[in-house]
Amino acid sequence: MNYLVIGNSAAAVGAVEGIRSVDAEGKITLLAAEPDHTYSRPLISYLLAGKVGPERLDYRPADFYEKFKVEAKLGQEVVAVDTAAHTVATKAGEKFSYDRLLIATGGRPFVPEIAGLAGARGAFTFTALDDARRIDQYLKESAVKEAVVLGGGMIGLKAAEALLARGLQVTVVELADRLLSTSFDRAASELLEAALERRHAAVCLGGTVEKVIANNGAVSAVSLTGGRELACQLLVVAIGVVPNVEFLKSSGLKLGRGLVVDDHLRTSAPDVYAAGDVVEGWDFLAETKRPLPILPLACRQGRIAGCNMAGRDESYLGGMPMNAIEICDLPTISVGLANASGEPYEVLAVRNPERRTYRKVVLRENKIVGLILIGDIDRAGIFTGLIENKVDVGPIKHLLLAEEFGLLSLDSEYRKHMVSGPGIEV
C-alpha cells in the first residue's frame, strides 16, 4: 500500500500513527509545505515569549519519521490533487502517486481587507513557526515599543502574552464585546481582561482596526473604529483561521466551509481522506458540520483516518469545541456550547471575585452541553466526559459547581464505568 500524507501537524502525525497501528509495512510518504520537523504549532507563542527554546518545539521526537518508516519530504508544497489519476503535484513540479491520500493541510490565517495593511512592514499573522521567527527578527531589528494584536481569540491572546513577555506595550483589539468571543461570556472575559490589565496590557473591545498607518513602509500606528489612533510598531493580525483548501479548488473535491468528509473521514473522491483543521467535521453538540480547528480533534481525526486508510473500519463520532488556555497566569477552560443561553438552556454559574474564579455549566435537557472554568480548572475533564457521554446530570445538578465536585458526585454506575477506564472495561 502506498500512503501519501499532505501535512505535518497533529492530523498528519496522528494519521501516520494510525496507519502504523494497522499496517507496519506500507509505504508512507509525507509532504509538507514547511521545511521543519513536525513541530507543535501552539508552542510558537511560547517560543516568541522565550519560554521554550527551538529544541522544545518538536511535536514528536527527532527520530519520528525514521521510527514510523515515513519518507518525509519537507518544504514541498502541494499545489494540486488529481483524484482521478491518484496523483498530487508540488510547487516544485514533482508528482507523487498514491493508493490512499490524506489531506491534512490545516488552516491558514484569515486576513481581512484593511486599508494600508498590504505590504506594510511590521504586520504579521501568527500561525506558523516562520511567523514567530519573523516577528522575533523584527523585534530584534526594529525599535518596537508598542504592539497591537487584532483579534481577542486564542491566537491573538497567546500572541499578546508573548509580546508582553518581550516587554512591549500591548493592546488587544477585539470586535466583539468580549475576549474569546466564541466560547466566553462577559463574566469570563472580565476576569481575562483583568489578568491582561494586571500585566499592563490594554484591551479594546467592540472595535477593529480600520486602517494601518505606515511610516517609510513600516507600521507606525493603527486607526480604530471610531477614529481613535493607536501608535504601534508591530501589528499582529489574529482574527482567525480558515481551512487551507485553496489548492483544492480545481481538484473536484467537495468543499463547504472546509473539506467535506463523511463519518469515516473520507472526502468525496475515492481513496482520499482528510483530517484536522482543513475539514468541516461533525459537531455533535451543535449537530452540524463545521470547521472545529482544535488540536485534539485534529489528532483524533488523523488517527481514525489513518486507521481507515489502512483498512480498519473506524467511525469519527464528531467533536465539539474545547480549549484550555492560560493567559497571564490565569488558567481557563471552555468546552462545548459555553455561551448558549435562553431556551432550552439552563445556566448554572458561580463567581468568586476574590479568588478570581468563575465556574459555569450550561445544561440542555439536564445534560451538560457547555462549560467555562476560570481560575479553578481542576477536574475539568470530568465535565468534558459528561458532555461527551451525554450523561443525565439532573439528579446531581446541585453538586456540579460544589467545591468538592468529583467522580463521587456522579451516579455510581457511571463512576464505576469511568473508574474501570473508558474503553477498557472488562
Partner: protein, 150 residues
C-alpha cells in the same frame, strides 16, 4: 495491560496511597523529607475522593484511547509502545492544561513541581505502583483484567 483498580467497598480513605505516591515522586524519596522539606512542591498522582461512607483512590486509567494523549499539544504525553503505559514528560510540558481538560476521570492535575501537568506513571521501575503496594487494606489492585477475561 496491568492497571490499577480501586475497590471502593474496601477503601479506608486513609490516604496512605497519596502519601506514598508523593514520596515516590519526590526528590529525596524519603518520607519525612518529602512530607516536610519538599511539602507543597510535589503533587500526589493519586487522589482520594471521599463522600460520606464512600471513598476511593483514583489515578490515571491509562485509557486505550487516551484523550490526554491526543490533546497534548507539545508531545509531552506519550504511550510506551511496549507496556501501553501513558507517560508524561514534564520537560516537554508547558502547562497548557489541554490534557486536564480532556481527561474524563479528572486524573490529571496541575502539578506543584512547576508549571506542568502531573499524572500517574504507574511507578515505572517498581514492581508495583507504590499506592497499590502500600494500601493497608488491599483496596487497590494492580492487575491485567483484559488478560484475565481472555
Amino acid at each position: 495491560m496491568k492497571r490499577i483498580y480501586a475497590r471502593e467497598d474496601l477503601c479506608l480513605g486513609c490516604r496512605l496511597c497519596e502519601i506514598h505516591c508523593l514520596v515516590a515522586h519526590s526528590k529525596s524519596r524519603r518520607i519525612i523529607s518529602a512530607m516536610t522539606r519538599e511539602k507543597g512542591q510535589i503533587t500526589p498522582r493519586c487522589k482520594v475522593e471521599e463522600s460520606g461512607q464512600v471513598t476511593f483512590a483514583l489515578q490515571c486509567r491509562h485509557c486505550e484511547h487516551a484523550r490526554c494523549l491526543e490533546a497534548c499539544m507539545t508531545g509531552a504525553i506519550t504511550r510506551d509502545p511496549a507496556t501501553g503505559v501513558v507517560l508524561h514528560n514534564a520537560d516537554k510540558c508547558v502547562g497548557c492544561w489541554m490534557c486536564l481538560m480532556s481527561c474524563p476521570v479528572g486524573a490529571i492535575q496541575r502539578g506543584r513541581e512547576g508549571h506542568v501537568a502531573s499524572k500517574c506513571d504507574l511507578c515505572q521501575g517498581e514492581a508495583a505502583p507504590v499506592c497499590v503496594a502500600n494500601c493497608p487494606n488491599e483496596a487497590l489492585l494492580f492487575e491485567d483484567r483484559e488478560e484475565r477475561k481472555k
